[in-house]
């Protein structure tokens, strides 16, 4: 299936959304995004990790180092309180925008 590049500015929201279910490490976030979008959305690692670090610096994500099943140390990200609030805001924004675009395109 063809992959589509992400819309500018949506990556942060998607990461927040994925992490709102479970804390995950970086690789798991990228595969989750791929699965959830049924292989349509392909995230470049080149933008995923800077985004994660950015969100962490803004206080929307917190990170913890945990030992995984294979015995490796993984950096696991989870949503903070501020992150949850940010997700609600961004999601509401997104829905408004998508609805508006749909109105125009219909």
């Amino acid at each position: 299936m063809a992959t589509t590049p992400l819309l500018q500015g949506t990556l942060d929201m998607l990461i927040l959304q994925v992490l709102s279910r479970d804390p995950l490490h970086g690789y798991a976030i990228s595969t989750a995004l791929q699965h959830l979008s049924r292989e349509v959305l392909q995230v470049q690692q080149g933008s995923l990790y800077p985004a994660l670090h950015r969100l962490e610096n803004r206080g929307w994500l917190s990170a913890e180092w945990k030992e995984s099943d294979q015995g490796r140390m993984s950096k696991v990200y989870s949503l903070t309180k501020a992150g949850k609030k940010q997700l609600i805001d961004e999601a509401a924004n997104w829905r408004r925008m998508a609805a508006a675009i749909e109105l125009v395109m219909a």
């Binding site: 490490h25 970086g26 690789y27 798991a28 595969t31 470049q44 690692q45 080149g46 933008s47 990790y49 800077p50 994660l52 670090h53 950015r54 610096n57 180092w65 995984s68 294979q70 490796r72 140390m73 993984s74 950096k75």
Partner: protein, 866 residues
């Protein structure tokens, strides 16, 4: 490796291994799985770098590292770095110098406590009050949008107002003869009320300062000296000195930073206002409610209610004002801005200069931008490798910016030195005591440092950002940088055009002022002033004394004529009176109340009739052509009579001669009507110096010792004040114009040099880059002349576009600039030819050299390159 770096690496490793494990579970071999994972991931270093950039506060650390790196890179190309630093140093230095002038003349606050609370107290009325209300004044009144504004009060009105507001009165500094131990010297003496120092909050440096008790009518005469005066006479405190031949005891010294309450002035001594008799002049009249001469400065922490104060002011006039339009009201002006005439005089020229140096800085910065851009092109391979290795574009941009920043900070440091030298050279040319104001304070302050730093930062962002971004994205191969450097060169030429045109106008204007005929003989004329009253000669004996001095000077060998007038020619000030024509009509005339033979000594020609002789009575006068036309029209003036004076009693005089027009106090404007008359013993010897004019047959400087000896043989307490030749006097008068023209010319020259360098540099660089192409063309048979023309045309195109833009921009400013220009119509395009020709010649020279080099390219050598 720092813990942060280890964690970053671990996170990347974890990702790769997780991905590889997934791929292995799909049946790939471990090695192949890892390879695939790495391919999918991309450049680990690049991603790590992007992540690092997300860290907060990182930029400061990066900046330090970038600047260190930039410093190392620049040290590897010292010629480029030195050129750039020198360019920026000159550009920023010119800015810092002009800003220093602005700082010391405009921004520096007065050296007193809470200067913001100080206000000059003046009064204003819509129309000038009737002569019946305001009889004599000694101060300046000027018209502005509010009508007539005056800065003087009568002793009575000052006395009435001082009880109701916190004010100090003063009589601004005047020259006086002061004898400490040796011979008498001329010093500036200011009269102040007893509360003056206390109100300003100035504390004594030695001894004590004046107190209200010192200002009582019968108090002992005491004086305070300035720190500058004290340095010359260190043992002075407690001793007696003579000021205008009267005894004063020196009680203290003002602190080093205190130069008075007005920038541009610096009194040497201060004595109490009640001792006004010391300064000579019509003492008794100063006590009259009709004589207005006291100035006031007040401290107002809160704005006072002027209503009741205005009533007090109006009552202190001798007569009731005739209408609302002539009713005076008080006016408060912030002291820092309003008191200094120097500030008023210089604010516009300084603004123009600031504009000019900003353009110079742009021109210099454009050179540096072009240099760095050229070098970035040369480093393109390196940049591409670094991008491939994972450097982010943002990071590279910052690194290039850091290079500009390092250059510009080095330039700023250099500029402080350049500015210091420039300011030292400029300040002595500033009229008044500006230099003292500055030099006694520290020439460098936080404001100036802040200004210089922000200018260099601003320059960095404005001129460094775009080239840095282009370089960092490795877009240099495309056309835009080429266009960018071309645009910079065009901009340089345009700015230079404006500067060269402006400088051309100002220099020509100065030349016109200098060459303007004065109406009398300029060469070999010596001027000096003496005041015998200050030397202790009684007023009754003064006329005979002055005549005797004239006689003795005339007898000196080498003197062909000598006389004296109450008015010194060409000082920018004079003595004017009204001439009544009857029917309540008046014309204004400048006066030369003088000793016999004044016209001859000055060398003013005669148009009709005869000159005044010693035997003429006081009612015989000579008037100049302008005045004759104003009074008598085209009719015959000889033998005609008229009355001098605005108010009765007037004085009837008869014209015996008409003199040719001559300049009186200034060169600009129309020559005024001038009346020559003998000095009147009844009115003209109440104070004020007489200025002798001595015509010599040889160099006047050689006669000076003899003249001094002659003067001191008559009275040893009588210093010769302001000894100058007439040429020096005119130079003094034109000092602001000269300073301005000098600076404009200097900045335009600098701009021309920098722009020529820019033009030359960019073209030479392009010829270098195109060597291979030129080689191929030559090998294919292109004539060398065609290549020469190709490069020349490219340079000329920039030159032409830039000049055209500059001319258009300059044309917008024509009306503004015209007010500074004398004897030259700026709008007339023929006056533009010489500056533009200069620009074209210099520009062509800068273009011709690279063009010449282009046609000297050896095709074989060029083709073997690369």
């Amino acid at each position: 490796m720092t813990p942060d770096e280890r964690k970053l690496q671990a996170e990347m490793d974890d990702h790769l291994r997780s991905h590889a494990a997934d791929l292995e579970s799909q049946g790939l071999s471990p090695a192949e799985a890892m390879r695939q994972a790495r391919i999918a991931f991309g450049s680990v270093e690049a991603i790590k770098e992007e992540c690092r950039e997300q860290r907060p506060g990182n930029w400061l650390f990066d900046l330090g590292r970038d600047m260190h790196y930039a410093w190392r890179m620049l040290r590897r190309s010292p010629v480029l770095a030195a050129t750039a630093v020198l360019s920026l140093g000159l550009g920023i230095g010119a800015n810092t110098a002009i800003f220093t002038l602005i700082d010391c003349l405009m921004l520096r606050s007065l050296p007193v406590e809470r200067p913001g609370e100080l206000f000059a107290v003046k009064w204003q009325s819509k129309k000038h009050p009737d002569d019946a209300v305001l009889r004599f004044s000694n101060g300046s009144s000027s018209g502005d949008k509010d009508g007539n504004v005056a800065n003087y009060f009568s002793l009575a009105s000052y006395g009435a107002l001082r009880g109701k507001m916190q004010v100090a009165g003063f009589l601004e500094a005047n020259a006086a003869s002061v004898r400490v131990d040796g011979p008498a010297e001329s010093a500036q003496v200011q009269l102040v009320s007893g509360n003056y120092f206390n109100m300003l909050g100035v504390k004594a440096y030695r001894g004590r300062l004046l107190l209200p008790a010192d200002d009582e009518a019968n108090s002992a005469p005491v004086a305070v000296v300035s720190h500058r005066f004290w340095r010359k006479h260190q043992e002075i405190v407690g001793t007696n000195i003579r000021i205008n031949n009267k005894d004063f005891q020196v009680i203290g010294v003002t602190p080093p930073e205190f130069f008075g309450h007005e920038i541009g002035t610096y009194p040497d001594l201060e004595i109490a206002l009640s001792k006004v008799a010391t300064m000579g002049g019509p003492v008794d009249e100063r006590l009259l409610p009709t004589f207005w001469w006291v100035k006031m400065i007040g401290r107002f922490p809160v704005t006072p209610d002027l209503g009741p104060l205005n009533a007090t002011l109006v009552h202190s006039f001798v007569a009731v004002p005739s209408s609302a339009d002539t009713t005076p009201a008080l006016r408060l002006e912030p002291a820092a801005q309003s008191l200094s005439g120097l500030r008023r005089e210089f604010s516009e020229p300084l603004f123009v200069l600031m504009l000019m140096v900003t353009l110079v800085l742009f021109i210099a910065s454009a050179n540096v931008a072009n240099l760095l851009l050229a070098r970035a092109v040369a480093r393109e391979k390196e940049i591409q490798i670094r991008l491939a290795l994972g450097a982010s574009a943002g990071r590279l941009t910052r690194q290039f910016l850091a290079e500009f920043l390092v250059l510009s900070l080095l330039g700023a440091a250099l500029s402080l030195g350049i500015a210091y030298v420039l300011v030292q050279a400029i300040l002595p040319l500033v009229p008044g005591e500006g230099e003292v104001t500055l030099l006694d304070n520290s020439p460098l302050n936080l404001r100036i440092l802040g200004f210089t730093t922000s200018v260099s930062l601003f320059t960095t962002v404005l001129f460094g950002l775009w080239p840095a971004r282009q370089a960092a994205r490795s877009r240099l191969a495309t056309g835009s940088p080429k266009r960018f450097s071309g645009a910079l060169v065009v901009m340089q030429v345009a700015f230079t055009t404006v500067l060269v045109l402006g400088a051309g106008f100002f220099v020509q204007s100065l030349r016109n002022l200098n060459d303007q005929p004065l109406g009398f003989v300029r060469e070999r004329l010596l001027l000096f002033s003496v005041d015998v009253l200050q030397a202790g000669v009684p007023a009754a004996a003064a006329p005979a004394f002055y005549l005797e001095l004239q006689r003795r000077i005339r007898e000196l060998p080498g003197v062909s004529a000598a006389s004296a007038s109450l008015v010194r020619p060409m000082t920018g000030g004079g003595y004017y009176n009204q001439i009544a024509l009857g029917n309540n009509k008046f014309v204004q005339s400048a006066l030369h109340p003088s000793l016999p033979g004044y016209q001859e000594a000055l060398g003013v020609g005669l148009r009709a009739g005869r000159m005044l002789t010693a035997s003429d009575s006081l009612d015989r006068v000579v008037i100049n052509e302008t005045l004759a036309t104003k009074i008598f029209g085209q009719g015959n003036a000889i033998g005609g009579t008229f009355e001098i004076g605005g108010l009765p009693p007037r004085k009837m005089v008869e014209v015996v001669g008409v003199a040719r027009n001559a300049r009186y106090e200034r060169i600009r404007g129309e020559a005024p009507g001038v009346l020559y008359r003998h000095l009147d013993p009844a009115t003209d010897f109440r104070g004020g110096a007489l200025t002798y004019v001595v015509r010599t047959t040889q160099d006047p400087a050689k006669l000076l010792p003899e003249i001094r000896k002659t003067a001191s043989s008559m009275n040893r307490d009588m210093p010769l004040v302001d000894v100058r030749t007439l040429e020096e006097q005119v130079d003094e008068l034109l000092r602001p114009e000269r300073l301005f023209a000098l600076l404009c010319g200097g900045f335009a020259g600098l701009a021309l040099l920098l722009a020529a360098l820019g033009l030359f540099g960019v073209l030479a660089y392009r010829v270098n880059r195109r060597q291979t192409e030129i080689g191929i063309r030559l090998a294919l048979g292109a004539p060398r002349f065609a290549l020469w023309r190709m490069v020349l045309m490219e340079g000329w195109r920039w030159l032409a576009i830039g000049t055209a833009m500059g001319v258009l921009a300059a044309y917008q400013g024509v009306t503004y600039v015209q007010s500074f220009i004398y004897g030259l119509q700026v709008a007339e395009l023929r006056n533009w030819v010489a500056p533009l020709a200069t620009l074209f010649l210099v520009g062509t020279a800068a273009v011709a050299i690279p063009a010449w080099r282009a046609c000297r390219v050896d095709p074989m050598v060029a083709l073997r390159q690369d």
